[in-house]
């Protein structure tokens, strides 16, 4: 490989990696928000993202104009996730379920969504949504990005900033953090746990729906697309499982690493790179890049 080849590969690899990484980042933000507040790693996040895509497709097939499809999809997905928390997860809590039982409940949601999507008849073929941002090429140095790529990156950063500000400065955000840190104490000071949890689940649903509407033209929606959540998990771990800026940084890192591995090592190795990243992070620096200091659980 010549030097100019290497330079080209680096530029393109990094830039495209930042864009794809932003996709992972958006989903990671949804995962981390729910985890920070309810202590539950949502194993249905990929399916929720997929549901957003398919709800939009079904509405479009029914003849609804895209301008209306957008808000309808956001509301629909937010409602589904909020309902899931209110109906299913609350019941698990009141039945004295703990950690792993919540996870299995989210798995149940994942299966149910997958099954429902297949009933739509839109199943097998990969589909796209009308692009919210064009795919015109924008040359940057030797490399090329599309306008959509840049928009996704901007969106991830904007969403992260908004949510971070919400968590830090607004009453609701502080309430969410309180519930995440110590539910008993939060309840004592008058925070309605069920309402806060519902809100954070709804929020994660809306973020996933935004991601679906924005990103589908780039990754295409299929009944398998939920697989992308694994990369979002890798992003959250690398960035620090309780840090929102970490989720974004983690996503970008995973996206770039995937590309650089593919360009300089082998295309075969791309798919195992995120898992190695997870292992390395957890072994070397378990709190991730931006996570807080790991505290020992009190007996």
């Amino acid at each position: 490989m010549t030097l100019s080849d290497i330079s080209l590969f680096l530029q393109q690899g990094v830039l495209s990696g930042l864009s794809t990484g932003s996709v992972y980042a958006l989903l990671a933000i949804a995962i981390v928000s729910v985890f920070k507040t309810t202590d539950v790693p949502n194993f249905a996040q990929g399916e929720i993202f997929m549901a957003g895509g398919y709800i939009a497709l079904v509405l479009l097939a029914a003849g609804v104009s895209y301008a209306a499809v957008i808000p309808l999809t956001l509301v629909a997905v937010g409602a589904i996730t909020a309902l899931f928390q209110r109906v299913v997860m609350e019941r698990v809590t009141s039945s004295k379920g703990v950690g792993v039982q919540f996870v299995i409940a989210t798995l149940g949601l994942a299966y149910a969504i997958k099954g429902l999507v297949r009933q739509t008849g839109l199943g097998d073929t990969p589909r796209s949504l009308p692009a919210l941002v064009s795919s015109d090429a924008v040359p940057i140095g030797d490399a090329v990005l599309t306008r959509l790529d840049i928009a996704i990156f901007v969106a991830a950063v904007v969403v992260m900033v908004l949510i971070y500000l919400m968590f830090t400065y607004t009453r609701i955000g502080k309430a969410m953090r309180a519930v995440g840190m110590n539910p008993r104490a939060a309840q004592i000071v008058g925070i309605r746990l069920s309402r806060i949890r519902m809100l954070v689940w709804a929020m994660s649903g809306v973020i996933s729906a935004i991601a679906a509407l924005l990103i589908t033209p780039k990754v295409l929606v299929t009944p398998d697309i939920a697989h992308i959540a694994i990369l979002a998990y890798a992003a959250a771990i690398v960035g620090g499982f309780t840090s929102l800026p970490g989720a974004v940084i983690g996503g970008l890192v995973i996206g770039v690493v995937e590309n650089l591995v593919g360009l300089f090592i082998s295309t075969n190795a791309i798919v195992v790179a995120p898992f190695l990243a997870i292992l390395v992070t957890l072994i070397v620096r378990p709190q991730g890049l931006l996570g807080g200091k790991v505290q020992v659980k009190k007996v």
Partner: protein, 404 residues
């Protein structure tokens, strides 16, 4: 001693049952012949099973309405194999041992079907596959297994390289496939064809779940081939065509059948007509999509399944592939005559040469080659419609057993 008496009765009954079945093959009565069907009726790969089996069902029904085969009506038992090896084995075992079918007609997922080979060989039940290429179970050939009635993946790889070098006059070819079983089969034949034609092959094997195709596409572009061949499934194929446009790769692109199930959707997914200035597609059916030669199949589907046909997404693209194996089976059963046995069926099937009118080429089985369909058609796709190109582009790869 009641226990041992009833035990003896049960044992005797089993022995009698075994003895009875040894006289004639199971699944046969004077009026019926039972065929066991299986395929992915649920899950990710539903497209390779659901409507394919529906198509087979309607064809068998048509044959029954016309009097059946030598006075016997075809009776079907259908099982879902969920496209995974364990469930497929359960489905096949249920059909053979519980439902006592005469023969099997099923299999939409190649890697799952390959897993059942030993069992089928041991039980000596003829299997004619459906949409699966199943090459892994066909080389070396098994007496009872017949597959690749859609198209053999080896043929896919060899033929497309032949097309690229003969029609597009390529001397250097970029080849993107998957790192799964399918990918290894089409790549082997592609390499063989490239060597034979004196053509250079640059290969990138990607995982089907890949989100970002920048790395493989960039590497291909850097290798500067004359033509890019894409042997991936639909989603990566759409992403690659899109990425080629983004990266300014304007050489001809040819997409194998693996990725052209729905070319209209492919164009919609890429979203830009400029990407299709130089794109060709490979087909395994006898006509371009929507063409006149296959209209009868879709009309038949509409008349048999009116509610299904009204739903979006039906029939799925692979539907016609359900008819080819059914036609082959019925013709073989007709040939055998009024006293079919499994062994006779295996013999007759191994000498098949039938142009079903569904696939690009005839279904040809010989005693040494049980991969049925090896022809492909090529079309130029401009983003809206496909135009058939003349010529026949045959894959030269043949099976050579590795000397141990």
């Amino acid at each position: 001693m009641k226990l041992s008496k009833s035990f003896a009765v049960a044992l005797a009954a089993t022995v009698v049952a075994f003895g009875a079945s040894a006289q004639s093959d199971p699944g046969l009565t004077d009026k019926t012949i039972k065929i066991g069907m299986f395929g992915p009726l649920s899950g990710n790969s539903m497209a390779y099973g659901f409507d394919v089996i529906n198509a087979a069902k309607m064809y068998y029904d048509k044959v029954n309405k016309e009097g059946g085969v030598h006075g016997r009506k075809i009776e079907l038992v259908v099982e879902d194999d969920r496209c995974n090896a364990n469930d497929l084995l359960a489905a096949v075992k249920k059909l053979v041992e519980q439902d006592q079918v005469f023969m099997l007609n099923g299999g939409g997922c190649s890697s799952a079907v390959v897993g059942a080979r030993e069992y089928i060989d041991r039980m000596k039940v003829p299997l004619v596959m459906q949409a699966a290429s199943g090459d892994g179970a066909l080389y070396p050939p098994s007496r009872y297994i017949f597959g690749a009635l859609s198209i053999s993946q080896y043929a896919v790889g060899g033929s497309i390289v032949e097309f690229a070098s003969q029609y597009l006059k390529a001397k250097k070819i970029g080849y993107i496939n998957h790192d799964d079983a399918y990918g290894s089969w089409n790549l082997e034949a592609a390499r063989f064809q490239a060597k034979k034609n004196g053509v250079d092959l640059s290969v990138e094997s990607i995982n089907p779940t890949l989100t970002d195709v920048t790395a493989p596409m960039l590497k291909i572009r850097a290798a500067n081939p004359d033509v890019l061949l894409i042997a991936t499934y639909d989603r990566p194929a759409s992403l690659l065509v899109k990425k080629a446009l983004e990266l300014g790769f304007n050489k001809p692109i040819v997409i194998t059948v693996n990725g052209t199930a729905d070319t209209k959707q492919l164009a919609a997914n890429v979203g830009n007509k400029d990407a299709f200035k130089n794109v060709y597609t490979q087909g395994l059916l006898a006509d371009v999509p929507g063409g006149p030669k296959l209209k009868w199949v879709y009309d038949m589907y509409k008349s048999y399944y009116p509610e299904l046909a009204a739903k979006p997404g039906h029939p799925t693209t692979y539907m016609p592939e359900g008819i080819t194996p059914a036609k082959v089976i019925v013709e073989a059963l007709q040939k055998i005559g009024p006293n079919p046995t499994r062994e006779k069926l295996a013999d007759v099937l191994a000498n098949t040469n039938l142009d079903t009118g569904i696939t690009a080429g005839p279904i040809v089985f010989t005693p040494t080659d049980h991969a049925g369909q090896k022809s492909a058609i090529y079309m130029k796709f401009d983003g809206e419609s496909e135009t058939l190109l003349p010529g026949v582009y045959r894959s030269s790869w043949t099976y050579a057993p590795i000397a141990k």
